[in-house]
Symmetry: C4
Subunit: 255 residues, 4 copies
Amino acid sequence: MTRFNDWRDQVFDIIYKTDTKAGKAFDVLLILSILLSVGAVMLDSIERINVRHGYWLTGVEWFFTIVFTIEYVTRIWVNPRPFKYIFSFYGLVDLLSIVPTYLALMIPGTNEFLVIRLLRVLRIFRVLRLSTYIHQANFLLSALNASRQKITVFLFFVLTLATIFGAVMYVIEGPDNGFTSIPKSIYWAIVTMTTVGYGDISPHTSIGQAIASVVMIMGYSIIAVPTGIFTAELANTLRGEKALELKCSGCGLRD
Amino acid sequence: MTRFNDWRDQVFDIIYKTDTKAGKAFDVLLILSILLSVGAVMLDSIERINVRHGYWLTGVEWFFTIVFTIEYVTRIWVNPRPFKYIFSFYGLVDLLSIVPTYLALMIPGTNEFLVIRLLRVLRIFRVLRLSTYIHQANFLLSALNASRQKITVFLFFVLTLATIFGAVMYVIEGPDNGFTSIPKSIYWAIVTMTTVGYGDISPHTSIGQAIASVVMIMGYSIIAVPTGIFTAELANTLRGEKALELKCSGCGLRD
Amino acid sequence: MTRFNDWRDQVFDIIYKTDTKAGKAFDVLLILSILLSVGAVMLDSIERINVRHGYWLTGVEWFFTIVFTIEYVTRIWVNPRPFKYIFSFYGLVDLLSIVPTYLALMIPGTNEFLVIRLLRVLRIFRVLRLSTYIHQANFLLSALNASRQKITVFLFFVLTLATIFGAVMYVIEGPDNGFTSIPKSIYWAIVTMTTVGYGDISPHTSIGQAIASVVMIMGYSIIAVPTGIFTAELANTLRGEKALELKCSGCGLRD
Amino acid sequence: MTRFNDWRDQVFDIIYKTDTKAGKAFDVLLILSILLSVGAVMLDSIERINVRHGYWLTGVEWFFTIVFTIEYVTRIWVNPRPFKYIFSFYGLVDLLSIVPTYLALMIPGTNEFLVIRLLRVLRIFRVLRLSTYIHQANFLLSALNASRQKITVFLFFVLTLATIFGAVMYVIEGPDNGFTSIPKSIYWAIVTMTTVGYGDISPHTSIGQAIASVVMIMGYSIIAVPTGIFTAELANTLRGEKALELKCSGCGLRD
């Protein structure tokens, strides 16, 4: 029995950790499988390829679904706290990565859900969580976290501006120029303020173009705000980290 | 009489402040009402929905107009300085939020003004002014204020560039390629410099495309200027705040 | 004779300086005249307005041309070193602001040059040079100057990338998809890298779209470079200015 | 024999170095030749010009190919370690700059490869490597290098977002609105997140436009991340450099 538990522990180390050679190999293999299966799902959605190679791609899909099913079951089996895993974020992603294929087989008309399998890409993050990149990601996240409130204020401000300018343009340009409703005008305002500018809706009247110019210059300028917030916070975090490495004996000065 | 004044004070606290439980509940209810009524105005502008559910949406609109009217009257009534409120920014926004509905009923042909009701979104800011986000907003505003002059110089510079490049493109591309007048060419220059790029007007001649490339690279590069200004100011403000927390006994140095 | 010189000195102070009341009034009047005359030139280029109000606008144009001519002659006359003024940047701008109107009268077929009058907007800068905004502008210019070399390196790098990616797309997409020549493909690459994205030329093949995605993400990321350069320099200049206000007696430390 | 070696050393100094007068002249001549030959390749790709001046441009091309061939052979000949040069990055670029012209002559149907000659622009970098701009470029590269890991994390995050939002839009909008396959939808997501916004594919349904708005605001905000990373690193490097110039006798503090 102990021997069996030993074996289970070893599998746990391979699947969940990266400090052994086998663990690292497993991670590399897993990332490759994820990328290949995601690639297969993508190719399958291209009609030209689907028609010609659909049969072959279905085979690939089933192969990876079975592999991921075995992996999922093993993860539950070797985990000392299986329920915590099942209901964790990554546990649900793992489940959603395999369920749609079975569903599409059993219940006809659920092909639409097959796209859910693309959530597999999120699984890569679990593997990366264990890698050296995690430190950098944490760094960015802590700066983002520090600027969370400021960015919320900013986004709320942007949405209010978009609502007001959208309503103004709805009145000025009107349905004849593509501004068929207030929500659509707000959509236009967001397209313009973020400097995306599809051009599917664009002002045609002179006053509309003048107001659009104001919206554009506004959007172009206020992009400075999130950038400024994040940069200032990041510079702060970065300086804090560096300061810890220095030691100033003469005074208590840190910055 | 004192009892009545007490009651009025209590209503004042609920409506204007947030430190009581009832005051907080009122704020949440107010934000919900604002969002719902704004949503109704938006949906009403979509023709497909208007045709089918217009009757129902009119009811919703009247319900909220009456609610906001009662609120407006109460605000005036409980305020010790009612005129100061009426002519304040938020007092005018409150009035503009309800007047259009009555106007449209009494004077036919004023339906166009109904869109003014969307100014209701601005009312959310009053509620937020009392929340924890206000500190962050003030922070951003103080950085913006510090960089106000620099950004004015920048905007003036951008508009001058847009005017000159607009005029140049008007001569080079001409009315046949969509550059029908100098104001329209300036509109194009702004669309291009802000990197929005609708594509409703775009250069067709080789020289025009070459100059457009210069305008684009210019716009792409000078976005650095507002960002730089704001970031530097924000970093400064942020550092100032942090520095106050540190105390350097040895010297009077703060930065 | 001295009295005459006194009078000339007084006119010089009014036109060239801003520290007297009359000097300030003159500046405000000049800016208004410039804006009005520029507005008239712009309106005149709109065909609909030209047809209807052309006669009236020509009158406005002649009025301002004569006013600016008198101003130009006076500037030369009261200046102790007239030739230095005539061949200075602003002297040439002043001349170019009035010459086209006379030219169009005397030599037929020079109407195209009338657009040169828009250079009048540059005259506003002379007036601003004397105002409080000049300090802020100098501040920005000194930061821009400090980052000049770095931005040159960056622009050269961007142009090289645009050339190579333009050539690649020319081969992949080919003339059938709008990439009719290498210069046009380079134009597309610049439109894409600067995130303008008109959509007048866009990739149609799968490989083309994949490479376009790389170009976009590249352009989206490297905008960080000019911003970073300018921000860092500006923060440096800003800090330098603040540091001068602090005095640290204990040590020679400035930063 | 020594005299011959002396002569070879002198040629080496002229071609590979810039500290002699002849070396600088050679560099200027080389950059001019590169720019002219690149210009010729570009002009040759414009059909209108090709038809009219093709014969003349072929002559120019052959002239520069022969010049560059002589230069390439000389570079090998005077280099004390010829193989190191041949297989270096610039050695391969030099070879690729001349081979396509010969290939197109000898093997018919290889005209497509003629575009490879545009790699000549890369040769300019070798010359610049020896110039004063190299210090600035190194500066930028060291900041980029320091932020390499953070930017990798960021790019991976952006690609994951693009995949998920692309898949969502593929389901919502469907092939009828231009989202014909998942890869194409991902292409749309990248076009939108990077704020390029061609408009060749754009959402038509209300839900699609709502999600697109989220994608745009996300893209508009997260551009702050690479900018912030790079700016913070650059500011750090810049400060480090400045700090070295200051000497603080009282303490070992550097930052």
